[in-house]
Symmetry: C4
Subunit: 256 residues, 4 copies
């Protein structure tokens, strides 16, 4: 998917997911801090939200894999071409693999919501592994690319591996609102950075970027920090909006 759209689609997905996570975790945090200790059972609404999130992850992964495999120039589920003695469309297979792990994390979320037998923290472990696999496959993607192209993708890896590490921490420190919002912020960062990659490598209108200029590398590094600032701002803004909104009161009333 070496074009602008191919970066805008995952970018939009990650931005939306970051938005969803911010809202969900702020509501959960509000619930936790406002309940007396005796009644620390999550209301059914939150379980429904988790089912929806898990179901969406499974569904979106399935669609993603199908699209990657069966687009016109896709591999159509063929992995090896014995005549040409070559692998068929490895890029599409790699993307399918990434989707697969997000699908697995969706399944882990559904399972850990549905049953108390499933150990707590398994959904976070699966999400952490999904992010790790995403970064891991990107890591061996960068070989032999021009300077700016490799650099802009390696910055993406910062966001991906940070998200993987902070999600791994959540396995051991459940219900920590700082870590949960950090995760949401890193999804925002990842999403907006996908857009940035699209704009730099495949500018929809306007001139091409010089992929070998060192000044561009320096600008892009700084730009990554601005995206981080914006991501923090978005999390802070959405949190405040959710917090202040009457919706919270309404929700808490109805959730009881």
């Amino acid at each position: 998917m070496a074009n602008f759209g191919g970066h805008a689609i995952p970018g939009s997905f990650f931005l939306l997911y970051g938005f969803w996570l911010t809202v969900k975790h702020i509501l959960q945090h509000h619930w936790r801090t406002n309940q007396p200790k005796a009644r620390r059972v999550m209301p059914p609404l939150f379980r429904k939200l988790d089912y929806m999130e898990g179901g969406f992850l499974i569904f979106a992964s399935f669609v993603g894999i199908m699209v990657e495999q069966f687009v016109v120039d896709g591999p159509h589920a063929r992995l090896y071409n014995p005549e040409g003695k070559s692998w068929v469309k490895l890029m599409n297979w790699q993307h399918s693999t990434m989707y697969l792990f997000f699908g697995i994390s969706g399944m882990a979320l559904v399972a850990s919501t549905a049953s108390k037998q499933v150990p707590a923290g398994l959904d976070r472990l699966a999400l952490s592994l999904a992010l790790f696999v995403e970064g891991f496959l990107f890591l061996y993607h960068l070989h032999n690319r021009p300077l700016l192209d490799a650099h802009i993708h390696s910055l993406l890896l910062f966001a991906v591996f940070s998200a993987s590490a902070s999600t791994m921490l959540e396995v051991f420190k459940r219900d920590d609102i700082v870590l949960e919002l950090l995760r949401a912020g890193l999804f925002f960062l990842q999403g907006s950075w996908f857009y940035q990659i699209g704009f730099v490598l495949y500018p929809p209108n306007g001139p091409k970027w010089d992929l070998t200029l060192h000044d561009n590398v320096m600008f892009v590094t700084m730009c990554f920090c601005w995206h981080l600032a914006v991501a923090l701002l978005l999390v802070a803004g959405i949190s405040s909006a959710v917090w202040l909104n009457d919706a919270v009161a309404w929700l808490c009333l109805n959730a009881r």
Copy 2:
């Protein structure tokens, strides 16, 4: 042991060990969560299992060292050849060293099961060190090998060092089922990846792989992620099977 069998034997060992760990830890977890707090003493059955595991590790390590030393073309316990001014069969000595540390971890398991004086967590520390030494010796193994050969072994190191790190975490966080299952899953991954290395470097039937082709490197990286997915699936499947099986009920009855 530069042939297919030399990779299939440790691969089978690690797959079996992963299976054993999954079953053992699920049974222990079931016991822990179903007991009232007052009676948190492990039933004698679990101690017997730990003795068996430790004894097996010691025995298997001993056999492994003996085989490495006294096979026909082995070093026969000679380390240095003063005439030729060279080391004798360093590869066999390295494998013996790896086995030695797994043997030590077996001893630590037996000791910490037998006596309350032995500090809790020592068995995990020893296992973590055994995995670290395995990875450490492999690390300086990769020098001067063709691209694909070095890459496929460096992927193995991801599994080995991750297992070492997660086992080290268990020193401080005992009886955490997520970490225990992660360890089991990483043993599955290591085991199945040993088979994969065997199939790629010494294909038992079929053509040789081109060890310098960059597409093969990309495929192998992706393939590692598939092995990870299969390892997760295996752990999940075995856990569910153990859980659902009447054996659990039977065991808990008999263990009391």
Copy 3:
């Protein structure tokens, strides 16, 4: 700001900040350890100190950004020069970005002091990110510099990233006096090292250093350890002075 003054100004700032942190945290620690458990509410004085600190960070960052943008040879808020097809004064923009994140950490400190709704630890997370961004931008600064220049800046990164990591730990381990003093010490180290960089690269009087001599690299590495020793000594000295001083008794009386 490639001159001696451009390194002395941030150096002085970090030295002062280290001094401030040492005094503040020693007073807080004294308060915590001398109060009966029932009355573990921070006295209003400490909240005022936090407001002052946050306000100062915001103010100083704002001034810093303004100066970097609107000095005579600054970019005057212009980022891209369409005629020359080049970025305008990227160095000044990078410094502005660093200041921006310290400003954000000031806002987080004010917010978490003002409201209980803001999760505890957010101020430390923001400070940790500010330090990370500082180090991150420096990291891609070092390209194509002479040996000693690159080395002396990479030593700075040790101080910066260590401070970022130890501050991140404080998100999860609040009110740990060892971590708080370590952070203060690392700010001292950073501050004095900025001065050292100024003296080495832009010696105000005396001869130039040979930037390619390997012996200079070895001396500078050792010198960094001496700065660390001095930073530890400063923290120990200030802590003892605050502790022994009557001011403590006076403060605790008045804070009640």
Copy 4:
């Protein structure tokens, strides 16, 4: 100190220190586990031991610095030679710096034993920094050395940085016997590896090693693992001996 003796002296020191730590921590652990909860005050004997240890560290560091400075071919406290425009005996200065930090860790141990005002964990932080500085200075020592020389020192760094990291963990997890024994074991490893370096680089009798042969690198890597095994064995043996010995009973009687 580029001769056999120059490696045997620190080696002996670290071996002795490892022995001391093993005995001390086993005795402390025995005391902790055998006391009723109400009387968890350390007996005065342990405080005396800590004073002795701290005093010895300060004294030995002082002697070490004096010797490094005022041996016949030492720098005699001169740092820069203005005529030759060169640094004077940087190697001796580096060793003095290492000793300085071990001296600081001795002071921290004395201070934290003497006063309750000194925060717990400060002595471990100082020891961790001393080990870090040792490794840090070695790290920039390895430049431009022959293959085997660089490799054998980089293996030393594994022991040094592992000890630094595990000691840093002890800042947060006090009185954890596994970590304490791990630290003792890593001092054994460091000590015996210093001897090994001496034997390889400056063989007291027998032929010189070929410093460029790759087989020697492989052997030395494996040999490092054997040293680790021996270090574990030593810790286990000494612990058992202390434990079983009547001395324990005697000590506990007298310490009351």
